[in-house]
Subunit: 199 residues, 2 copies
């Protein structure tokens, strides 16, 4: 049928998250049909990213510079550190444009099941940053999953041990903005009711 | 937030069918995290495909050779020609491995709405092939859509005009193998009943 070159492209595309074999085939055909406008630029962009993008030694963000643009930005508050699980969470917060401090990307969560311990995450460098940069507040912006919350507990204990007068906060739980009560799970509703505020 | 190199990769990825901005972001992050095993090979595979894959002058298939591997294969029957809309249909038939003749990729269907006329498809080269290769049967394997069926009608007329003793066939309609009657549309059920066979 199709040649090894096309087959190989389909096979590699199908490894991407969200693409199965069928959609990888469709995407590959689309790529070949849009050779000038998509296939060639995308190949170049991938080569450039493979060459230039690296992990920031300070915070774990991905950037072409090390330290990354956020760590090097003098306008950002170094006293407030937001801890996230993954680079995608950092991107989400940056897109929202509501945080002007520094980040620290853990690189995952503690998980007994998957055998992920503190030594597999950027925990020691977090403690070191808190001490060296005289951080006053650490915001634990981990996912509201069991593993995320376990990790938050662990980090709270570790950080409280190291720095007695450090403020440690977490993101608020509640009804998502624009969310309908009808579609929310019981846990979120219970939390939202418990944390109710006077208007 | 992320640098222009990452942004550009996300933006190009989001142009692929089946990927929105969110899944393109996820795929890009996945690519960067699997630099050696996926990002670099995929970049190379795209460059290779952009360089080497071309449309077969004879049948319209995509291959690194022209004429393509199917057209050059002496074991395949040149007297039976299967007409398909798109390369993906050719691939589907080849995967099924049930056809050993030659293909002809039309490159779409006639569509008054989209302004696609016979001159926009590989119609003239189809007629020429039928005459020059002394084809005895043309199988119209177009999609069972309105445009596909309109195009089948048109091709039947054109081919019958040119070659009086040519057999022109279409794919059978009916219940898909493994399909449940309950989930089938009325049109398919009606066709399947009308075309019923004695066992």
């Amino acid at each position: 049928m199709s040649t090894s070159e096309i087959e190989q492209l389909i096979q590699l595309m199908s490894k991407l998250p969200g693409l199965g074999t069928r959609s990888a085939r469709r995407a590959t055909l689309f790529l070949i049909k849009h050779r000038e406008s998509l296939l060639m630029p995308l190949g170049d962009a991938m080569a450039a990213a493979a060459e230039n993008v690296k992990s920031c030694e300070v915070c774990g963000n991905l950037d072409t510079e090390d330290p990354c643009g956020i760590c090097r930005n003098p306008a950002r508050d170094r006293k407030t550190l937001c801890v996230v699980e993954d680079v995608s969470d950092l991107w989400a917060l940056e897109r929202a444009g509501v945080f002007s401090g520094q980040y620290h990307v853990l690189g995952g969560t503690l998980s007994a099941l998957d055998g992920v311990g503190p030594e597999d995450l950027r925990v020691e460098s977090l403690i070191r940053r808190v001490q060296e940069d005289e951080v006053t507040e650490v915001i634990l912006a981990l996912n509201a999953t069991v593993d995320g919350q376990t990790t938050s507990h662990y980090l709270t204990d570790r950080l409280a041990d190291e720095e007695a007068d450090l403020t440690i906060t977490r993101l608020a739980h509640g009804v998502p903005v624009g969310g309908e009560l009808d579609y929310l799970d019981d846990g979120t509703l219970a939390t939202a009711l418990k944390s109710r505020r006077s208007t």
